[in-house]
Structure formats: C-alpha cells, structure tokens
C-alpha cells in the first residue's frame, strides 16, 4: 500500500497501477514509432515535432522530456530500426543451416519486415542518408560481422569474393530506389537482388545466383498461394 500511495503523490494519478519507468518506456517507444511513421509518410525533412507528438498522442512537453530535439529522436529511431532488423535476421535461420541458406533466409526475412513496415526502410535509407550520411557506417558495422560469422570456420574470417561494404551500399540504394516509387509493398520484388547481395560477398557469385533463384522461386510460389 505504501508503494501505491507513492505513485499517486508522484503525480501519476491517471495510471496509478503502471510503474512509472514502464509508462516512461512505452511513452518513449510511442514517440519513436511516431517518428518512424511520420518519416514513412513525409520523410525526415518534412517531419515536425507536431507530427511526432500527434502520432504518439503525447504533449510537446513530454516529447522534450525524452529527447532534446528532433535529431536526437531520429537517432533513437535509427537504433530502433537497426535493432528490429537484427532481431528479424537472427531468428530467421538456425545454426544447422549452411551459410548460403542462412544468409538467404535472413535476407528474405529482412525484406519481408521492410515491406511490412515501410517506415523502417525510409528511416534506414533515404532519411539516414539525408540526416547523417556517416550513420551508414554505424549499421554497416552492425551487419557485416554477422554475415561474416555465417561463413567463419573455427573462428577464422572467410575470404571475401566481393566487397561486403559495397554490397551493403548497393542493397541500401536499391531499397531507397524502390521506396521512391511510393509503393513500399513492392520491396518484395527486390528479394532476388537483396539475396544475391547478401550471399555474394562471402559465398561467391555462383552460390549467390543459386540462392537468389531459390528466393525468387519461393517468392513466386508465395504470390501464387495468396
């Protein structure tokens, strides 16, 4: 009872049963979601604090409790989007998968997630490039080692057939180009190319073509099944 009373006195009278740190966490996440949604619709440059707070259903004061400015909120949105895609990629394959298969499954899951939530794609490609081009390096550092690890044997780094950094940049540009059509669901059409670019650096061209065809075929089967 003592605890309960302390909530009420701390001003959290509307939701007295929600611990304040959880309420604050969910507020912060709502703000980040608001940022991502607004970027998807009108890009970062076109997004105002008003857009974000109205989507998040919070006040401007609350916004500024969590973030210093729009840019700080955007940095949090980038971290959130990168984290989401990393989770999606990591859970898409199992340790038993050969590396090429694992990379194909991870790439397929990531493209699916981007198509389902186009705000992720907008934040990570067009807007990241506009706000801070060097941020690309930040998430390249997060993704390339994961890819490399799939082909590592006994802790030895695999030899690269093509430059993984270039492949990453290409994938990003292709996604950017596709969302520029204004039809984010068409991101799925890029699956063969994204799989190729994911597999080719460490798996080589031949394997990448094979995996790309496999991904294209399963996508066609998926469309036919719908």
């Amino acid at each position: 009872m003592q605890k309960h009373r302390s909530f009420e006195t701390s001003g959290n009278v509307l939701r007295p049963t929600t611990p304040p740190d959880i309420a604050s966490q969910s507020q912060r996440q709502r703000i980040v979601d608001g940022m991502v949604e607004s970027c998807a619709e009108k890009t970062y440059a076109g997004t105002t604090i008003t857009d974000i707070v109205s989507r998040a259903h919070i006040s401007r004061t609350t916004f500024y409790k969590h973030f210093e400015d729009k840019r700080a909120c955007f940095d949090a949105a980038i971290d959130y989007c990168v984290g989401e895609l990393q989770d999606v990629a990591a859970t898409a394959h199992s340790p038993a998968d050969p590396p090429g298969d694992a990379a194909r499954k991870a790439a397929t899951a990531v493209v699916g997630a981007l198509a389902a939530k186009p705000g992720l794609a907008q934040v990570l490609t067009g807007d990241a490039m506009a706000v801070d081009p060097q941020v690309i390096e930040r998430y390249r550092r997060a993704t390339i080692p994961a890819l490399e690890a799939l082909w590592s044997e006994n802790g030895d780094a695999p030899a690269a057939h093509t430059d993984p950094r270039l492949a990453f940049g290409q994938a990003q540009v292709l996604i950017l180009n596709q969302i520029a059509t204004g039809k984010p669901d068409r991101l799925l059409e890029l699956l063969p190319e994204i799989v190729y670019l994911t597999v080719s650096p460490y798996g080589g061209h031949e394997e990448a073509v094979r995996q790309s065809r496999e991904a294209g075929n399963s996508e066609i089967r998926g469309v036919a099944a719908r």
Binding site: V173, L176, H205
Partner: protein
C-alpha cells in the same frame, strides 16, 4: 537562352582557374542562378539556404528569379536536372561507342568517376544535398535512377552478356551510386579515379562472374 550543360559546368568550376571570358560566364541570369544554387546549398545546406542567398551569390534580382523559378526547390531541381543530363550525355558517348562491352563499361566508369572528381562541390550537390529536400527527393531520385538503368540496358542489347540475374543492371547502377556517394560524403571526391579497378570489378561480377570481372579489373589498373 538555352541551358548549355558545358557552360554551366565550366561556370561551376572555381573562377579564375579557367580564365573564362566574362561574357561567357554571365551569359544568362538563369545560368548564374543555377550555378549559384549549387554553391550556396553545398555551403549552407538546403534547409538553411534562402532565395536571398542564391540571389546574392548570382548577382541577380528577386523579380528575375521568380520569373524563372517558382521557388528555391524548383531552382534546385532545375540545376540537378542539367547536371544529370550532362552526366548522361558524357557516359552515353563512351558506353555506346566502339569496343567490347566490358571495355566500354570500364571506359564509362572512368568517365563517371572523372565527372564527379572534376567538381567535388557539384558532386556533393548532385548526390548528397538532393536527399535533404524532403518528399520531392523521391520522384527525382527514382527518375534519374531509371534513366541510367535504361542507358545500361540499351548498351547491353548489342553485344553485352545475358546476365544470370534480371536485376543486374539495377544492382550495377546501385554500385556506382553507393560507392561514389560514400567518397563524396567523406570529402574524397577528388580522388575518385582511384576507385576504377574495384568499381569495375564490383559492377561486372553480377554480369560476367568473378573470373572475367577480375580480368577487366586488372586492365583498369593500367
């Protein structure tokens, strides 16, 4: 007066270095405004740039500006289009010229790298500033991407390889954009020519496989 890409391009180069005659440099207010928007947005960033900044740089009056352009964005997109037209024209000459396809690819890549390296300010305007204009960026990016993919396909028709992947042309254009973009962002546009071997390789692999691409990469080192 028409927009002559050659003149605009020279105008954008540092004055004095090329000793351009004054009458050529000041041929039209439109050209001066287009050249000014490139310099001013690179210096200030698109958001902070005002029409007044462009006028000051160009030495042109406000009335004349609004006779020629709707607003700052319109002026910026017009300059962007002239640059894209100029680049395409130059690449077209090499790419659809004489010689086997991989060699023509190598030559047009060299031309592309040189084009960006010749004027790092314009390179930054062309690749980086455009992405900061908001929603208008999407349509422009899309249409310019398509035109270079179409050019690539055009040259493949004659004697190019039949790629194993239908999206090879899209990936190849993506390789050029991604790689040059990165160097420009890092302020290394002037040294772009050094990328020719690796870019030739990265461009060609999806079309011809690693071995043949390696051969052309070696020739690009010479």
């Amino acid at each position: 007066m028409t927009d002559n890409p050659e003149d605009l391009r020279q105008w954008r180069l540092p004055r004095g270095r090329h000793g351009l005659p004054r009458e050529l440099v000041e041929r039209s207010q439109r050209e001066r405004l287009l050249a000014a928007v490139v310099r001013v947005t690179v210096a200030n960033g698109y958001e902070k740039t005002t029409v007044g900044d462009i006028l000051g740089e160009a030495g042109v009056g406000r009335e004349s500006f609004y006779e020629l352009f709707d607003d700052k964005l319109d002026c910026m997109l017009a300059a962007h289009k002239i640059l894209a037209d100029d680049l395409e024209e130059r690449v077209r000459v090499d790419y659809l010229g004489e010689g086997p396809w991989p060699e023509r690819v190598r030559h047009s890549l060299a031309t592309t790298l040189d084009w960006f390296a010749a004027d790092p300010e314009a390179a930054r305007f062309f690749l980086v500033e455009l992405s900061t204009v908001g929603p208008a960026f999407r349509a422009t990016f899309k249409s310019e991407y398509s035109r270079f993919t179409a050019l690539l396909d055009e040259g493949l028709e004659e004697d190019g390889p039949d790629p194993e992947l239908s999206g090879a042309a899209q990936m190849a254009v993506g390789a050029i954009v991604a790689r040059i973009y990165e160097e420009v962002v890092l302020g290394r546009a002037a040294e772009l020519r050094g990328l020719l071997p690796e870019l030739t390789y990265g461009f060609l692999v999806p079309f011809v496989g690693e071995e043949d691409a390696r051969g052309e990469q070696e020739r690009a080192r010479d």
